[in-house]
């Protein structure tokens, strides 16, 4: 092939993502309302935001990779494969099999380890460092939540705003489509889509996107219906402003707070769905869901191997808890209807 490899795509996407974050920060700083909302969020949820930042940084460090620089004689490392920054911290850490946290010998059989005391969370069945696996899961989780939202939210906006603004036949069609999708069981539709498209990160994200845009589509359709009858939109129409311009300048900015709220509230549901998919054997490789699923047999061993599931479960739980608390606060800060209701 022409030489474009997955790790290059990942590097490019990381750059784009950083640029997007910079752009978003600029918008927030320039607009008084967004700035106040951000400041209020920071006052309320400092700890949760810091936790999210840590996850984000770990995921970024795991997304930038290059080839070379691998020490010779490193065990269990492909010398010609690309390695991310996180990989490079754990290049030569594999053992032969299970070892407990900070242990000096193997868990079954008491053979000495190659790196005694060097695994703060132990190693898994084929000797990989559990801390390393848990850190790598951060990128997978953020990828699932982020990429899926990137598919679902534009899809929902396109159909929802279009249906609400233009009405008529298109509205009927969209309403029929979302009613149909909403009456199919989400998890089963998800599984059917993945079985039809084949496994892999992208197809899992596409399937999650297709099954999760319906709710936001309904919301944005209802909001657009309300907005299009407001005076400023009518005035714009009377002044002869073109329809795309009305949608992009007058309707979409008024949906921006809903986009942010939906993104954050959707995120935790998506990551938790992936855990269920992993249990069914159609999840994304390297996710915490897979680690938890694999740990089921380990708990029935004697003596039990607990550090694997503990690491994956804690990492997953902390991320979801942080996202949920931040999400609730974002909703309180941005949505005037719920203000003063939640703590």
């Amino acid at each position: 092939m022409s030489g474009i490899e997955p790790y290059m795509v990942s590097n490019g996407a990381t750059l784009l993502l950083l640029a997007g974050v910079g752009f978003a920060v600029r918008i927030v700083r320039r607009n008084r309302l967004w700035r106040e909302a951000a400041a209020s969020l920071w006052r309320r949820r400092r700890l949760a935001l810091c936790v999210l930042a840590v996850y984000f940084v770990i995921a970024l460090l795991d997304s930038v990779a290059w080839k070379g620089g691998v020490p010779e004689h490193a065990v269990g490392v492909l010398p010609n494969a690309p390695h991310s920054i996180v990989d490079r911290f754990f290049l030569d850490t594999t053992e032969a099999s299970y070892s407990a946290p900070f242990a000096a010998v193997e868990f079954y059989g008491d053979r000495p380890l190659r790196h005694p005391g060097a695994h703060p969370l132990g190693t898994d069945i084929i000797g990989r460092d559990v801390l390393y696996m848990a850190l790598k899961g951060a990128r997978v989780a953020l990828l699932i939540g982020g990429l899926t939202s990137l598919i679902a939210i534009p899809l929902a906006l396109m159909f929802g705003v279009g249906a609400g603004y233009f009405g008529g036949r298109f509205d009927d069609f969209v309403f029929f489509l979302i009613s149909t999708l909403a009456s199919m069981p989400g998890l089963l539709l998800l599984i059917a889509l993945i079985m039809a498209m084949g496994r892999g990160t992208v197809s899992v994200c596409v399937a999650l996107g297709v099954t999760s845009w319906v709710g936001f589509c309904r919301l944005s359709r209802a909001e657009t219906l309300k907005l299009r009858e407001l005076d400023f939109v009518r005035a714009a129409r009377v002044l002869g402003v073109s329809e795309p311009r009305i949608i992009f300048r007058h309707i979409l900015p008024n949906l921006a707070h809903l986009i942010v709220i939906t993104f954050v509230l959707m995120f935790s549901g998506l990551v938790l769905s992936e855990a269920v998919l992993s249990w069914l054997g159609i999840g994304v490789d390297g996710s915490w869901g897979q680690m938890i699923d694999g740990a089921r047999d380990e708990l029935s061993r004697e003596p039990i191997v607990w550090w694997n599931i503990a690491a994956a479960g804690t990492a997953l739980f902390t991320l979801i808890l942080a996202v949920n608390t931040v999400g609730d606060s974002i909703r309180d800060v941005l949505d005037p209807r719920t203000q003063g209701d939640a703590p």
Binding site: S183, M184, A192, S300, F317
Partner: protein
């Protein structure tokens, strides 16, 4: 009223036809029948065997009506689903209708107590939290709800099986016995996990409903005339907040029949959720699409029932 019911039923039928079309696209047009056959029979079987298998399972015809109007898969798919003639499983050739009939009982044995217990725990809890609104008890309660919502259901199941089933040995880790004396022992763990994993979202939802009602004028009037807080909570707030709660419950009733995928599969309950998970793991496409159709059918009827029950509890709702 009659015209409204008819129109709702018509809309429901239209949505079901849409669901069937989507299923057709997913399971016939996108998925190659040769692949399904190979997954069922193994990779290295002679082409003649595959052809025979496709003929037995009805995959050996053209897909679309414009290819062959008399004999095509699309019309056949609609005809069979709408007459509840689900045919044979793609994985082991057993009749699907029979499996569904057998699975409904165990599913109901799990889901009916689960619904009742869930409501019995979360409604009093949310009333309590709403009663102490804007105090530390309320804040603590909401935080605990978010905490409970943030744990993956997988972790709840694995944790409960390990701690209560394996370490403490209070209840069997998994299994099922229709004998009414033994059944509660087998259902204890799945019920516990089911209630725990749903409690966070439910309490929060009900709390919001209660707090919304408690800001109404009639609540202030009741307080002004000297009614006690407990009486206000039960007589004025609870009764009015029951409308959104009822919507949720009525919508949940059809799904009692379909069971729970995760709980049934992990705890070895031979219900419809377990049938579905087995179908997923065995690449059993015909059972899977039948299950999706049945879930959708139940959902559409649940929605119609919800809309109609609104009119029964809330006299302000008029059907037009």
């Amino acid at each position: 009223m009659g015209a409204y019911v008819l129109r709702r039923l018509g809309w429901g039928a239209l949505v079901l036809l849409g669901v069937l079309f989507l299923l057709f696209v997913l399971f016939f047009a996108v998925t190659d029948p040769d692949d399904i056959a190979r997954k069922a029979l193994g990779e290295k079987v002679p082409p003649a065997v595959i052809e025979q298998w496709k003929a037995n399972h009805g995959y050996d015809r053209p897909l679309w009506p414009w290819q062959d109007f008399e004999n095509n898969l699309l019309f056949d798919h609609y005809r069979r689903m709408l007459t509840f003639d689900f045919g044979l499983s793609d994985a082991d050739d057993s009749p699907i209708t029979e499996r569904i009939r057998d699975g409904m009982g165990p599913s109901l044995a799990l889901t009916v107590p689960l619904l009742v217990l869930g409501l019995g725990v979360s409604i009093p809890l949310s009333l309590l939290v709403a009663f102490f609104r804007e105090t530390y008890i309320d804040r603590m309660g909401v935080f605990l709800c978010v905490l409970a919502m943030s744990v993956s259901t997988l972790l709840y199941i694995i944790g409960a099986q390990f701690l209560i089933g394996k370490v403490l040995r209070w209840f069997p880790i998994s299994g099922f016995d229709p004998d009414p004396l033994l059944l509660p022992r087998f259902l204890a763990l799945p019920l516990l996990v089911g209630v725990l994993s749903g409690i966070g979202a439910d309490v929060r939802f009900y709390r919001t409903a209660f707090i919304e009602e408690s800001t109404r004028d009639f609540v202030r009037t009741a307080r002004a005339k000297g009614a006690s807080e407990a009486r206000i909570m039960t007589r004025h707030v609870l009764r009015n907040a029951l409308i959104p709660i009822l919507t949720q419950v009525v919508l949940a009733i059809p799904f009692l029949f379909s069971g729970s995928l995760l709980l049934e599969s992990f705890f070895g309950i031979p219900g419809l959720g377990g049938v579905t998970v087995d179908a997923i793991q065995a690449n059993d496409f015909s059972t899977l699409r039948t299950m999706v159709f049945i879930y959708s059918l139940l959902f559409v009827f649940g929605q119609i029932a919800t809309d109609l029950s609104y009119g029964l509890v809330d006299p302000r709702v008029r059907f037009e």
